[in-house]
Subunit: 369 residues, 2 copies
Amino acid sequence: MQSFNPPVRTLMGPGPSDVHPRVLQAMARPTIGHLDPAFISMMDETKEALQYAYQTKNELTMPVSAPGSAGMETCFANLVEPGDKVIVCINGVFGNRMKENVTRLGGEAVIVSDSWGDAVSADKLEQALKENPDTKIVAFVHAETSTGAQSDAKKLCAIAHQYDCITIVDAVTSLAGTELRVDEWEIDAIYSGTQKCLSAPPGISPVSFSERAINKLTNRKSPVPSWFLDLNLVMGYWGKGAKRAYHHTAPVNTLYGLHESLVMLTDEGLENAWTRHEENHQMLKTGLESLGIGFLVKEQDRLPQLNSVLIPDGVDEAAVRSTLLNDYNLEIGAGLGDLAGKVWRIGLMGYSARRENVLLCVSALKEIL
Amino acid sequence: MQSFNPPVRTLMGPGPSDVHPRVLQAMARPTIGHLDPAFISMMDETKEALQYAYQTKNELTMPVSAPGSAGMETCFANLVEPGDKVIVCINGVFGNRMKENVTRLGGEAVIVSDSWGDAVSADKLEQALKENPDTKIVAFVHAETSTGAQSDAKKLCAIAHQYDCITIVDAVTSLAGTELRVDEWEIDAIYSGTQKCLSAPPGISPVSFSERAINKLTNRKSPVPSWFLDLNLVMGYWGKGAKRAYHHTAPVNTLYGLHESLVMLTDEGLENAWTRHEENHQMLKTGLESLGIGFLVKEQDRLPQLNSVLIPDGVDEAAVRSTLLNDYNLEIGAGLGDLAGKVWRIGLMGYSARRENVLLCVSALKEIL
């Protein structure tokens, strides 16, 4: 058995994205104890920077010690009680995963369906709420990583609140890549990943809970079914001011990486990061259109950071991805589910959203096609 | 907000342990995609090396993408169905946590209690099995991190099997630190952490399931309540030979760290690692006894890698730990639960199990006391 020396890739798939050398270096700093006072002050800074990234004052804003899928489960396991009716808006893979969470937790899922590639329809949501006045929670994906469609989170949350529902929002691909304002849009529970537009290594999931969500949590009739994800316990470790109580061992070095990526985000400025993603998206669009490659998603609903582009007729899509990987060390993503074989997913996330990456991707595709 | 530069500590608490510079360097290698062919061949090597560390041929042997507590929950959430009777042997904090898992999953927990610091009593287990012939699962902690006591896993598993139960075993602190033979001892489901005797950074949890455990899993009447931890799904990504299906994004860089620590373990040899832990424990024991410091646990039940030592009368234990941390950059652990204020926990785990660490610890304590 030999040490593993990975190839150096350019990561333009649906995530992980390129990790900046500063973040990689941070990962290699000496491990310290998860109750060390020095570590705890880093935790406080991380929470504060995540509040900035989410544009929220929510006290319960912290990274869950597991990937984005576990961040999703943290929101559902803490907020959905057996018998709760939950409207799940599905317009791609990750909406389906939300539904799986609801039913496994004993909730009743009511589905609002939109085509893959479309945004979630506000009208359909309102209709479903009228037909299901006993709904407790509305869940939807802000930025569908499987399609590249962006939904109007502000509008969807406003409708949900008119019907006295709290909202659970998937922001795995949107956080730090496109406009997202948790407090202004009144999002109640939100989760994200570190390996997309934050450009930190995968493995942790920032979440944030509003007062409304915390009320639902603290008034539960049954215990949270997961010990590991129970925020009542996790907050004993991550809570501000309180004496830190041991819950689990935090992923110390991965948190070093997240902290460094948040230093870089605050240095750049959140709005500037959004603009950078948009500018690189426009450049990619121009380049791809010059090759005759179009987009799956209507222009007004497109995510800048996740581009689902239509595979030209007669092209062996898997062979193209292999050539990109083997000859150019460039990773782009395949289509998922119904979109397999129909689209490529080209990510421009975080440190991957750079002019040089866009040029490489367009030039390489030009050579191959 | 500034980059975080942690102090350089010597970690002799209950974990995380010192991480070898080779492992830290591996963490900083360039991130690649979690479906990259190069990554997948690293996953295969990692699984194989974990089989070696666990001394098992179990096909279902892999790292869960979250800390040891989530490894625990993986075992319980996949194996315990609502209504299942589970005997949980409790002789410390982590037995209690097992019980929490069982009850939250709708199982019925029957407790076999032993004093903190004692091994689990085989006689009491057998008695409980006689009184509860409908028991499906027996769960116990092999190496109690909260007390430093080691239980006879081989014997406890043999008894459980006489009564047609499968076994769930916590090996968070034992894996690679003390004798552990999953196949020979017929352990059915086992979980561990990376931040103890493997000396990799915290954040992932190696688990292994026997055929008997997989039978229980595949014959479930209800779905696994956790989508993230459902091994039916996880194995689509980690399974051998099969086309790797996306489940969640693996913690790529943390897995680099684990892989490197497993390279080091195979180079050293598992039995040699066990011997190293024992030798350093003996040296620590001699040193502490020369200071008049004794052990909580009876000699025959002591774990070499986790030493619960009795705080001398009249000593302000928290002040001593602070002085060790601030003046010597040396971390040792406090007592947990009933043992708070009564013991220190001195870890000799993985790369921390070195002669120089033992000397530093004994000399520093001598200066302070």
